[in-house]
């Protein structure tokens, strides 16, 4: 059984097609990167996977649950992080984690908060209002929130956007280790090609709502004759796929 199985997923807003019949799957424990320029359909795809958006057509199964009929069962075993969605800034870090711990029904919540705080270097920040933190600290808090329920499927929308290179590298290293140790399935949308290359074992290249190419990072580099994914991305963005 695939952890994520998407079939013919389509989202149209009137005459505009944001996502156009995409089909893909992610095996348990796999990490899939969604790559594409602005307006390629990455965020729309993630929103549909999370049940925030109802597809025009197609189906989504996550951990065996049909997201159209039974999304809450899947959502309890998923989580999500995005720098574009904030946590209440007046609440302390611990209070925010406590809120989401309750929403996700986490057992041994206080111990879990302490564990995550220790792992993500947040122990000294637990009583600080979330709004008073630096961008890097907020990202780590958002990451802690997204891991509070030990998700089986983790969706990350540009997890290191707006971070300095050092903090970004720390977060990527932590994600890499977490995935290896937990066996969690990860879907990652990013503009950071080095990040995708480092974290993902397969990549979907999206353009205008369609999958224009896919494969593991080494396969894509080989196919396009390039040294890094950024060059592959530019090839696709400017000229189209190899096949095209």
């Amino acid at each position: 059984m695939h952890a994520i199985q998407v079939q013919g997923l389509t989202k149209r807003y009137g005459d505009v097609t944001a996502v156009d019949g995409i089909t893909f799957s992610v095996a348990p424990g796999g990490t899939l990167g969604l790559l594409g320029g602005n307006g390629a359909g990455k965020t729309t795809t993630i929103a549909m996977l999370l049940g925030l958006l109802i597809p025009t057509a197609g189906s989504i199964r996550i951990l065996g649950h049909d997201m159209g009929r039974d999304r809450f069962a899947a959502l309890a075993r998923m989580n999500f992080s995005s720098p574009y969605i904030a946590l209440p800034s007046r609440l302390s870090v611990a209070e925010n984690l406590r809120v989401y711990g309750h929403l996700y029904g986490v057992r041994g919540l206080e111990a879990r908060i302490r564990e995550l705080a220790a792992q993500l270097d947040l122990t000294g920040l637990l009583d600080r209002p979330s709004g008073n933190l630096s961008a890097g600290q907020k990202t780590r808090v958002a990451l802690a929130k997204s891991l509070i329920n030990r998700p089986d499927v983790l969706l990350l929308d540009e997890p290191t956007a707006s971070l300095d290179p050092d903090t970004g590298d720390m977060v990527r290293g932590w994600l890499e280790r977490y995935r290896r140790e937990s066996g969690c399935t990860v879907l990652l949308a990013s503009h950071n090609m080095a990040e995708v290359e480092r974290l993902c074992d397969s990549v979907l290249m999206l353009k205008q709502g369609r999958i224009v190419d896919s494969g593991s990072p080494p396969e894509l580099l080989d196919r396009y004759g390039r040294d890094d994914l950024e060059q592959v991305f530019l090839d696709i963005a400017r000229r189209g796929t190899v096949a095209a």
């Binding site: 989202k11 807003y13 965020t43 729309t44 929103a47 999370l50 049940g51 925030l52 958006l53 109802i54 809450f72 069962a73 959502l75 309890a76 998923m78 989580n79 999500f80 995005s82 969605i85 904030a86 946590l87 209440p88 800034s89 007046r90 609440l91 302390s92 209070e95 406590r98 809120v99 989401y100 711990g101 309750h102 929403l103 996700y104 029904g105 209002p129 929130k145």
Partner: protein, 271 residues
């Protein structure tokens, strides 16, 4: 999953969202002060006004003063209940947190339950000091009406909730542009709610509108109760109308929530 496990899960999620708002108020004294500010201010203004009228008009004004103060206090119950739900929803929107809430396993009805719970706490925090003030400054005891006052409270709270569901639905439909309604919408119903005067005072054409609102029946009942008569017919109408309007509010909320999911508005609703 057993029924008991599911119920515990629901209660935990409802508590999670309730805790989020309690934590917010614990850290924000201006928000706490704001809860009490208007009910207490209203009570001061109308209390002094009735004191003045009683001093001028004598014993005949005493009955009117009771109706006026009772009306002010009970209408605050509806107002604070409505604002409690609508503003708590807006707090999620202002903090750009809705996306996180809606991708958690919380069901829409659990979210509404949490908002209602918070609304009850907000209403009690705002209205109880005003009730105490009315007793201390003007010797007006709302509870002297009798146990029936609890039913008046309950009906006005429920009315506040369905009006708030309508407001939240409009926010889901039109975004933050509709947020001003969270403060103003119930004031628009005040003239039809017969808060300070009987429905019979209204023009004949307007009376059906008044009678379609639970609040007008509550206030007719309150005036009768101040005269020592419990009007069960008015209470029955208030309960029945609340059931109908609440069902309509829930339907509207569910429809607009689905529409928001179709339009992708849950992520961009704050804009």
């Amino acid at each position: 999953m057993t029924g008991g496990t599911a119920s515990r899960g629901s209660l935990r999620r409802i508590w999670g969202l309730t805790y989020r708002h309690l934590a917010l108020y614990r850290r924000s004294w201006p928000r706490l002060l704001e809860l009490m500010y208007w009910p207490v201010l209203q009570m001061c203004i109308w209390g002094f006004t009735t004191s003045f009228l009683v001093g001028r008009a004598g014993s005949t004004a005493v009955v009117a003063a009771g109706a006026l103060l009772g009306g002010v206090l009970l209408w605050e119950v509806a107002l604070r209940s409505q604002m409690g739900v609508a503003i708590s929803f807006l707090e999620e929107l202002w903090s750009r947190n809705l996306g996180h809430v809606f991708v958690s396993p919380i069901r829409p009805w659990e979210m509404v339950s949490a908002l209602i719970g918070i609304s009850v706490l907000r209403m009690l925090t705002g209205v109880l000091p005003a009730i105490l003030l009315a007793f201390l400054l003007y010797a007006f005891n709302l509870f002297a009406i009798g146990p029936v006052v609890v039913l008046f409270f309950a009906n006005l709270m429920v009315m506040g909730w369905w009006v708030a569901l309508g407001v939240v639905s409009l926010i889901l439909r039109h975004g933050a542009g509709a947020e001003a309604l969270a403060w103003s919408v119930l004031f628009g119903l005040t003239p039809f709610s017969a808060v300070f005067y009987p429905v019979s005072v209204l023009p004949a054409a307007v009376q059906p509108i008044a009678l379609a609102l639970p609040s007008s029946h509550v206030f007719e009942g309150m005036r009768a109760a101040l005269d020592g008569v419990v009007r069960w017919d008015h209470l029955a109408w208030a309960v029945a109308l609340n059931i109908v309007w609440m069902a309509a509010g829930i339907w509207l909320f569910a429809a607009q929530f689905r529409q928001a999911r179709l339009r992708g508005a849950l992520l961009s609703i704050g804009e």
